[in-house]
């Protein structure tokens, strides 16, 4: 088994060493190590933001302890490596839920901060970072700083969405959201094209806390942009148990299994097997984390791995641009069947390098097929750039330095807060010789 790869398993580079961070009372002296260091949790970032080729990874997953829970206010303080899965088990029976969650619960709290993750409620709740009250940051000079909106504010803002480069988060405290039970009252609605998607999304975002759409990005012509819209709210009553059925992909599936033809069939099946409109009460697990039931699903893409592409197109010409992107993908002959559309809201994030901004976001998976895949994504970057959009670093493994610096013009300001000992494969790639990190 190859350890230390990212979720997309591309690029396949290895660190020189991994140092587990076991106890807050027993922290390493980071300056004593010859290479640069990078904190890493469960490695669910898709690209190379959680990789540090020839450097050292600081494994935060042993920091898995809860520190304080205020049951009245719904405020939890826990160590950096506590997973969302562990938290949910603890908070849901006590009537609380995560303020923001991505599509997997196998991530760490510190990872959620470092990537300033977002979820199906972005239009209501903003990013995870917006709910973080404070955290403690270990810098390589040995300083331990409490960062919040009022204390070490600049570091607080730089660390939220800061890709693990500003120091090692030791623990964090954040605000939870009250719920009645573990269930979501959800609705699934089929839409025939992009126009219908935008109409549904605009109409749903007011009354539904969670909205997201799966889109069939291989269909062309009049069916282009067809898909299934999901919306839901926390249920007031009702009961549904989480099924314990899960499955592990035992090995890397052969490359030819996911080709344009099989993808097209699968997409067609997903679309046509869904009822036109369905309402039901479901447990939060299948609603938020359908893919978590298939452990190691990334192995479906074969041993060459896959690339995830997520961009946001600001409101304005977002409808035409989305159409153009989907057409370009449909034409490419490269396939993707996990494609997701969602409208972001305008809740600001404290994060300096945070990705979400008002607009439509589109996320797609592509099996890695060499230069063909890279060329397609490079073309998409140019389209996104032209429209004033941006691409999500947590999912990226290949955008050019030029595009990154265009997407995030604030990167130089951010770079001032990077710990001199910290670096990542991602950061070296997108800044190249513009900044030299110690390594």
């Amino acid at each position: 088994m190859k350890k230390n790869l990212s979720w997309g398993r591309y690029p396949q580079v290895q660190p020189r060493a991994t140092l587990p961070i076991l106890w807050q009372s027993d922290l390493p002296h980071l300056t004593g190590y010859p290479t640069s260091v990078l904190p890493r949790g469960f490695g669910r970032s898709y690209g190379d933001s959680c990789l540090n080729e020839d450097g050292m990874l600081l494994d935060t997953t042993p920091l898995m302890r809860l520190i304080h829970f205020d049951a009245q206010q719904g405020i939890i303080r826990c160590e950096a490596g506590v997973s969302f899965a562990d938290l949910l088990q603890f908070i849901v029976p006590r009537g609380w839920f995560l303020p923001v969650t991505p599509g997997t619960k196998f991530i760490s709290v510190a990872g959620a901060i470092a990537n300033d993750i977002h979820g199906k409620n972005h239009h209501k709740a903003g990013t995870f970072g917006a709910h973080v009250i404070q955290f403690e940051l270990l810098r390589s000079n040995g300083e331990q700083l409490i960062c919040s909106a009022t204390q070490n504010t600049e570091l607080y803002r730089a660390t939220i969405g800061g890709l693990g480069l500003t120091g090692l988060i030791l623990w964090a405290e954040f605000k939870l959201k009250p719920i009645h039970n573990a269930c979501i009252a959800m609705e699934r609605i089929r839409f025939a094209n992009l126009e219908e998607f935008f109409a549904l999304a605009n109409q749903s975002d007011r009354d539904y806390e969670y909205t997201v759409a799966w889109v069939d990005c291989l269909s062309a012509g009049p069916q282009q942009g067809r898909g299934i819209f999901f919306r839901g709210n926390h249920a007031h009553e009702g009961f549904s148990k989480s099924s314990n059925h899960s499955f592990r992909v035992p090995c890397d599936l052969p490359d030819f299994l996911l080709n344009r033809f099989t993808m097209k069939i699968m997409n067609g099946l997903i679309y046509s097997s869904a009822p036109p409109d369905e309402q039901k009460i479901v447990h939060y697990d299948p609603f938020f984390y359908p893919l978590d039931a298939i452990h190691d699903w990334n192995r479906c893409y074969g041993k060459r791995g896959f690339l995830q592409y997520q961009c946001v197109i600001p409101y304005g010409q977002h409808e035409e641009t989305t159409q153009k992107i989907l057409s370009r993908v449909a034409r490419s002959g490269t396939a993707s069947f996990l494609s997701v559309l969602k409208l972001f809201g305008d809740q600001p994030s404290p994060g300096l390098l945070s990705f979400p901004k008002p607009g439509v976001t589109l996320a797609m998976d592509f099996a890695f097929r060499g230069t063909k895949t890279l060329q397609l994504l490079e073309d998409l970057d140019s389209m996104v750039c032209e429209m004033g959009g941006l691409v999500y670093p947590a999912k990226d493994a290949r955008m050019s330095a030029e595009h990154f610096q265009n997407f995030f013009p604030q990167w130089r300001e951010f770079a001032r807060f990077i710990d001199p000992k910290f670096s990542s494969s991602f950061w070296r790639r997108v800044t190249q010789d513009s900044t030299r990190s110690s390594s």
Binding site: S25, R65, F90
Partner: protein, 245 residues
């Protein structure tokens, strides 16, 4: 399980097992060497629902302190329903071959210390006529192999001691559970290359929890190790000695 004594409470497996009992509101007396680490674990268990958590930092290799340790634990919680012994070290086999002091140290920590504690606890449990004694041994103790026979002997010796204890304490209504984990991905094994047989401490803790609740005698965690060790044990010695295991 209301009152629980954990020896080696800061080990990864002990922490995960304790979490499961904390969620049920158990009382704990935690013992380990480092006070700061103990405090972090105690805090975690309190947040997760433990009704009461007491701690004592002590080096369990100091056998002469075992009796007073158990006295203060009994004083703190009254009596115990469960004692989980999770302390131990994984010695470097090669270093042990070169240095007999290292071998003795490994046996001290993994066999002699536990035997001292078990002797005290067995008498305590026998007088109260109830309780569960759950001790972490290892699949390594099922057969001596060149790659880790010092550790294997230490754990194998412990397993046999437990077997005898189980036989003795059965009529007093006491459960003696021998826990045999395979490879577990913990700080103790961080230097080893990982393969598909490695289990997470959470997985192992679930197995231990179920075995305690169900009143089992011996548990392999994960359960497939029962079959792996069955195969390893059934190879005739004449062939086994030629293998590089």
């Amino acid at each position: 399980m209301k009152n629980i004594l954990i020896l080696g409470a800061t080990s990864a497996i002990a922490q995960e097992t304790a979490k499961l009992f904390a969620a049920e509101g158990a009382n704990f007396f935690l013992v380990a060497r480092h006070p700061d680490r103990l405090a972090a674990v105690a805090q975690d268990l309190k947040v997760r629902g433990a009704a009461k958590v007491e701690t004592q930092a002590i080096d369990l290799n100091r056998l002469e302190q075992h009796a007073t340790l158990l006295q203060s634990a009994t004083k703190a919680l009254g009596s115990f329903d469960l004692v989980l012994m999770a302390h131990g070290t994984l010695p470097d086999q090669h270093a042990c071959e070169q240095d007999v002091a290292k071998t003795m140290e490994a046996i001290q920590t993994n066999t002699l210390g536990p035997i001292s504690l078990l002797t005290h606890i067995a008498n305590l449990f026998e007088s109260q006529q109830h309780g569960c004694l759950a001790v972490i041994s290892s699949v390594a103790g099922d057969r001596g192999r060149q790659s880790n026979y010092v550790y294997g002997m230490a754990k194998g010796g412990l397993s046999i001691f437990l077997q005898g204890l189980r036989n003795r304490l059965h009529r007093s209504g006491i459960q003696v559970l021998t826990i045999k984990p395979g490879f577990v991905d913990t700080p103790m094994t961080q230097h080893l290359p990982k393969n598909a047989l490695f289990a997470s401490p959470q997985q192992v803790a679930q197995g231990i929890y179920r075995a305690i609740v169900k009143g089992k005698d011996i548990v392999y965690v994960p359960s497939y190790w029962r079959w792996i060790t069955w195969v390893v044990k059934s190879i005739p010695e004449g062939i086994f000695k030629r293998l590089s295991l």
